[in-house]
Symmetry: C2
Subunit: 359 residues, 2 copies
């Protein structure tokens, strides 16, 4: 493969941006790639004595050492959620996790995942893609982080299994950035499968709650958990934005306090140097102090602690409280109106801004 | 005073909005006012047997009982910060705290305060303002919450003592909403005075730190403390907005944890039902878990606890931490760039949006 080809490929890959930097990057990448390729495909070459036409187009990155001269870092990555038929035939560089991979004769289908977005990628034996490269692609473990360079292509039939249903990537290069173990405690596919008790035909593979919690990092990669965290952030953001627009000031209240702040709920005791203190059950007192101190309207978002020794799902000893307090001029209905209005605006905001997360 | 006059006054006071409601309000107010006026000015009338031309224009509100038929609540209040020469000659309704009051012969100057904003008000004996009313105004305690209705007037000379330097209010009605004690543990004026060690000529009245902390509510009413809280809210808001725009997700991390989260800092022990737990010194582990769970970029704003038994000003056992964590593609400089950029944007935001607070 000529150097010219290589340069052209990579130039196209970044969609015309910062070409100069990319040329350099390409050279560097090529050098590294050749070295790596020798290592990783050494065995395959030894076995078959076949010329690998794809040498330098796949392999494993070494340890990223944040070297000053690592020119790769000017490369521009495309996010999977931004792949669409509008950028058809462009060459893109995508970093994601190997979600699933399925070899089928001379081709290998892979699903690449980024958070809740997935796209189908295809490696097909051809003039520029060697058998060895397809074999390499098919042996990458699930959940491994990989970089792929390839052409965005529209598909004749919608891809049901991916979030990007209208396009797939025809791979030109494939690089392993960080390899995962070959055996994982749970598979994201299994964890993400909706649990249907009455589904007779469907697969009946479930991941137990213990396994999920013991391997929380893997479980959090499921689309549902990704959406939960994003919606949680969204609720807090909307609460803050709406109240700030209404003239509220955000305050931060102490969490370690000298006496129980509210009757009715139990407190946690903290050993505070030579004496004892308590964890705040509520920011109530501090909100009220702020009102008396003429802040007029305040709110706080923060941890609240309740020492309720209960084993149901619905009792937490620690949660994030969204709390507001305001002074009214004549009538407590002013407060009710503000609260009602805030909720309405929050639900409208969730509907409008977090559509993909709610699904 | 005829009913017509009364109606006209109040109509003007609300700047043309919801006149119908206000007419009703005016009637109600008048009735209540007459009753109150009899009580509060009874003695003065008795003494001098003089006709009080201002009866029904001043007095003390009863307890606000959030009655369904309290029509006052449709009244529109003007904020002191919005008073400016543009609304000259308009009649406004303002609720604020009596900051200072100074009677001088037949007139009484008052400074009305709302958070960090102050405006001068003037009651002057005239055809419609009785001596009794001026006397009533001059006897209102400092820090009492009052409602005033009056005309916005521009002043020949800038008022140095107030934040509204270009306008004052010529009072037509004055009502006490919530009376304060006549003797306060500290005066906002004193607490707000800048401490200058070498100021030989100036007043040398200081409020000690103990007194301030024992009466935190009063101390928080000083302009400096108001600004501190508003800037604190501003810093958090900018941090959140900037990072959210950069694609970060806000997460909430546990505060009660089962083991020390970071070496080097001491932990607080919490008695957690039958065993012990610890207060989080840092959200480090949880941020890193989120990165491993493919969140890519996360941040958290929340309480952090450090059991450092130190008596300097610069050690706190509890503070609000602004924390971010991100995955980088090739080089740790990507993280440094993000952090640097965030700080720059935060300082620009503070400069542009919080000018009045910084003064």
């Amino acid at each position: 493969m000529g150097e010219e080809d290589k340069l052209e490929d990579t130039e196209a890959a970044v969609d015309g941006k910062s070409k100069k930097a990319l040329k350099k990057a390409a050279k560097d990448a090529e050098k590294a790639a050749k070295k790596e390729a020798k290592k990783s495909t050494g065995q395959a070459e030894g076995d078959k004595e076949e010329v690998d036409v794809s040498a330098g187009k796949y392999g494993t990155f070494g340890l990223l050492q944040s070297k000053a001269d690592d020119k790769n870092r000017n490369a521009i990555f495309t996010h999977i959620k931004d792949l669409c038929p509008n950028i058809k035939d462009q060459i893109v560089l995508v970093r994601g996790r190997m979600h699933t991979s399925r070899a089928k004769g001379k081709q290998c289908f892979m699903v690449l995942r980024q958070q809740q977005f997935t796209v189908q990628c295809l490696v097909n034996v051809s003039d520029t893609i060697s058998k060895q490269m397809v074999k390499f692609a098919s042996t990458i473990n699930k959940e491994t982080i990989i970089d792929v360079i390839g052409k965005v292509s529209s598909v004749p039939k919608e891809i049901e299994a991916c979030s990007q249903k209208l396009v797939e990537i025809h791979i030109q290069e494939i690089w392993v950035v960080s390899e995962s173990k070959s055996q994982l405690p749970l598979l994201i596919e299994d964890a993400a499968r909706p649990v249907k008790d009455d589904d007779q035909e469907g697969l009946n593979i479930k991941v137990n709650q213990d396994t999920r919690l013991d391997n929380r990092i893997l479980d959090l990669r499921t689309p549902a958990n990704q959406a939960i965290f994003r919606l949680e952030a969204g609720v807090c953001r909307l609460f803050r934005d709406i109240l700030t627009n209404k003239g509220f000031v955000e305050i931060h209240t102490p969490k370690i306090i000298s006496a129980a702040s509210e009757g009715g709920a139990n407190v946690f005791t903290v050993s505070y140097f030579k004496s004892s203190a308590y964890l705040a059950q509520s920011p109530q007192l501090y909100k009220q102090m702020a009102i008396a101190a003429d802040f007029d309207k305040v709110f706080t978002v923060g941890a609240v602690f309740r020492a309720e020794d209960s084993n149901t799902h619905r009792h937490l000893t620690e949660f994030v409280g969204l709390d507001l307090e305001m002074a009214f001029k004549y009538h407590y209905h002013e407060v009710l109106d503000t609260i009602g209005n805030t909720f309405t605006e929050m639900f409208i905001g969730l509907r409008d801004k977090y559509k993909t997360e709610i699904e």
